[in-house]
Amino acid sequence: MLRLEDLRVAQGSFSLSAAFEIEKGARIAVIGPSGAGKSTLLGAIGGYVPLDHGRVIVAGDDVTDAAPDQRGIAMLFQDGNLFPHLTLAQNVGLGLRPALRLTADETEKAHVALARVGLAGFEGRTPGDVSGGQQSRAALARVLVQAKPLILLDEPFAALGPALRAEMLDLTSEVARAAGATVMMITHDPQDAERAADQVVFVDAGLAHVPQPVAEIMADPPEALRAYLGF
């Protein structure tokens, strides 16, 4: 589904390498120490960080040189996922049509998506008008309507409390399962990984390791991961 071929990114003295493949429908947690290159990895896949070498294949297509919106990828960032001057329905609608002149059918779709994430009746609110959790839900509703085969999450729920974060992760899994999408998410918390992922990509010292089943790696973490987790 996603194949990284000999991917390398260099930024000053920092460099990141990755070469692995992920099958369709997998849920991958990306974990590792701060500054190890987790965000760079997702940025490179998403098309926001230039590659020095290698190729990115999404659903069989080489998207190495494609614009971020042409890669079959929906991505959520740590912040700035919603436009504060647009309503939640408009923010979701952007995922259907960036020019935002929606047909009645598309407006209906946006409303259904908001209802799916528990925001029925919030269509006309602006992001500043709702709680942080509700903002995350609205962003997920947009991911839902974007219907891309790959979803990248660069810690969009980091600012939420543990209970709310767990709820969002469950919702994400649900959204992804409904769309048959593959998910890659950065996390700091091994519990989050166990909850919402099947496999773990451990990023350390400029290398993104090959994904391993989450139960396996948690039961017997390699030395570097052990140091990071504090086991």
Binding site: L51, P68, Q70, M75, F77, F83, H85
Partner: protein
Amino acid sequence: MARRARSVTVAALGGPLAAGSVFVLILVALLAVMSRADWPVTFGAADWAVLRFTVWQAVLSALCSVVFAIPVARALARRQFVGRTFLVTLLGAPFILPVIVAVLGILAVFGRAGWVSELLGLFGLPPLSIYGLEGVVLAHVFFNMPLATRLILQGWQAIPSEQYRLAGQLGLPPRTVFQTLEWPMLRQVVPGAAALVFVICLTSFAVALTLGGGPRATTIELAIYQAFRFDFDLGRAAILSLVQLVVAGTAAVLALWILPPLVLQSGLDRPLQRWDARGAPCRVLDAIWIGLAALFLLLPLSAVILSGLIGLFDMPISVWTAAWTSLWVGMLSTGLLILWALPVAAWLGQTKRGGAEAITLLGLAASPLMIGTGWFIMIYPFASPQAFAMPVTAVVNALVALPFAVRILVPGMRQSFTDYSRLNQALGLRGWPLWRIVLLPRIRARLGFAAGLTAAMSVGDLGVVTLFADPDVATLPLQMYRLMGSYRTDAAAGAALLLLVLALGMFWICDYWGRYAET
């Protein structure tokens, strides 16, 4: 095999194109002027006197403005009183106040037959005379002291309140507070404010036209007008234009490095909690400064309104036609400005600081009268320049406002791009939808403010229009100037009030439109 990530560049073509068209407009005018100059250029004693006066009055105006602005800003920064918000708003008024209106107000207060002279007469003292250097500097201080005060007030309020809290907790005396907190800020902000005032005053025309004149009080800009209008000496106008370009251009480029950014009103209405400066002498001193500043601004304005109300019923019909002309010239200027400023600001908002901003600053350095003269020369062989008086006025007014508009818009653009460029890319927002859905709503408040500023400046401008206009057509400021010249004082006062309402009204409408969506 390094690959560049594709980044969304907005106005990658439109920005340079808009900036380039500004550059070409000015360059064509300059070339036209130069073609009429008599080479080799001679620069006589009279020209030197003009140059000396121009620089000297600008230096004095900048110094006086800043020297008075510092204590007023300090008092405003640390005092809370009824009417403070009003006073801070009032400090923004001279920037959009038509020069000729302010001059009328200043004359009514400080003139030979003004209120102050009458008061002096009661004590048997001779009346004031403010024609010449004193009047020019006085008017410049009236316009620029408030601007300097606002800039310095921004600096004061940029000092984190935690630092004052710490100073209060340690019980530091005012002297120490000044040395550690305020002096470093002033050293940063004051030179920039002074430089800005200096550059603005260098190209002063309407003030010199009305309060200066004569061999001892003529600015370069006024001398261009005189050479053109009285002697039709295009050669001399050309030489003076070149001098103006070199002087103002050098000053503007130097000022660019130390210029503080122009910000919106927001935040300035919040006084600092101060634990020092609580003593009675301190309070009295601050009260005196605030009172003096308020009087200095309010007296001329009240004079305009009072005498205007009397003269309102004494105005010839030509005043109303002129008002209509001014209205559409102002709207045309504002429209042009938006077409220029948006692509330029979007372009600059994506590039690194500095650099390209200098191009728009050319609009400030190249004198409006030079551009006007140039286009007069261009049009002259083909058509009657008078027929193009209003379009040329509208274009030049938009050019003059462009540097201000760009400085207002660029920070908002830059913020929009840093906050949302990834999201725009993720959603595939580009081109017109990006403008419509993201950029315009995000900078709406700034755009309204910039458009309002342009509309007010254009409506109130008494500059390039004086070169072109024939007796039948006039903008409102020009009509008012003619009424003043023919000693129809009441009618002029009525026209002044109408012009004031027009300029402030246009500013208010645009600014209100900008802030309307923010609620």
